[in-house]
């Protein structure tokens, strides 16, 4: 789909619609029509961030997991194409990871009063940044394509199996500020449990899908460029 011009045009329109809907749908105390969103006290207009910040974090995760899966495939087949895919997924993941961190931190300033609070999810995205950083640092210090590919694949797999432990560990260490975190009983839990009105849910998933497709597109462009570079 992403290769055809129609597909790209559709994706552009899709994302434009998501952005327009996300910014323009009015928020009222009691929504009556299909385009009205509820006014959540304490979150107010800021609730819209879920439509633009969460997809970034989601794409980061998709990139992280696919870099790891390509790493596994490389170790299985010894085909350097998979290594190329792995690097490109990790590189794109870093871009989206930075975007998720910056957008989240700006919102945190207005909702929680400071740019950085070491909330569990802030911490986990910070760890993800560190892993990406370590991954590229490791790559740059190994000579020989085969060895570089094997070792960085090994590292991404180790990082991939230890990362879930953060999910078990973080909540015992600190209580979260993110909506839906532990200790936030009265608050809405929009991300974790998808407690959203149906129309917002539609925009939310449209945004997730749109940004994921954008990732796929950027990934294919990057792959084509790196393949060309290989031939030079």
């Amino acid at each position: 789909m992403i290769r055809s011009t129609t597909g790209k045009a559709l994706l552009s329109i899709w994302l434009t619609l998501v952005i327009v809907a996300g910014l323009a749908m009015p928020m009222v105390p009691v929504p009556r029509t299909w385009y009205e969103l509820p006014w959540i006290p304490g979150l107010e207009q800021k609730a819209r961030i879920i439509l633009f910040h969460v997809p970034m974090a989601w794409v980061t995760l998709v990139a992280f997991i696919s870099a790891m899966v390509y790493g596994i495939q490389f170790l299985k087949t010894k085909n350097l194409d998979y290594d190329l895919k792995s690097v490109n997924a990790a590189g794109l993941g870093t871009v989206f990871c930075i975007l998720a961190t910056v957008t989240g931190s700006i919102w945190a300033k207005f909702n929680w009063g400071s740019f950085w609070n070491w909330d569990p999810r802030e911490t986990s995205i910070f760890i993800l940044l560190l892993i990406y950083g370590a991954y590229f640092a490791l790559r740059s210090s190994i000579e020989g394509a085969e060895k570089r590919a094997a070792l960085s694949a090994a590292y991404s797999i180790i990082a991939g199996v230890t990362a879930p432990f953060f999910i078990f560990v973080m909540p015992r260490i600190m209580s979260g500020l993110h909506p839906g975190a532990k200790g936030d009983e009265g608050g809405a839990a929009p991300v974790a449990q998808l407690h959203m009105p149906p129309n917002m849910l539609v925009v939310f998933f449209a945004s997730l899908l749109g940004f994921t497709m954008l990732y796929v597109w950027l990934f294919s462009v990057r792959m084509r460029i790196s393949k060309l570079e290989e031939h030079h």
Binding site: P41, G42, S114, N117, W118, V161, P164, F165, I167, F168, V169, P171, R172, M174, S175, G176, L177, K182, G183, D184, E185, G186, G187
Partner: protein, 130 residues
Amino acid sequence: MNIKVIVGAVVIVVFLIFGAVSFMGSNVEYADFGKAEQFGKKVQVKGVWVKEKESRFDQKKTQFIFFMKDDNAREEKVIFDGAKPNNFEMATSVVAKGRYKDGAFHATEILTKCPSKYNGDSTAVKKSMQ
């Protein structure tokens, strides 16, 4: 070689689940001061601030000390390792997490519930934030 990978993968999945199970039981349970004293475990106690009795901030030890009355109207001294939470005065109820020891409740975390503006939304005050 293939057997090793399969066995390894099974072990990884099983132990990831084993780790995840510990996370399920990690919620700090609610209790009142009586139960907290009885078990010595880390619990959450819900109550209200007793404004009549003294409350002070010990600069040297960075401890905030106040009195709290739980749902059974039992009053206890609460020692919180940290500064006084921002919206403490406005709070309609307070939840203190910690354990009961030596005649006082030692809290490691305090949650305050505020009325009206943040309807039903509680704000966590963490030590690291101050």
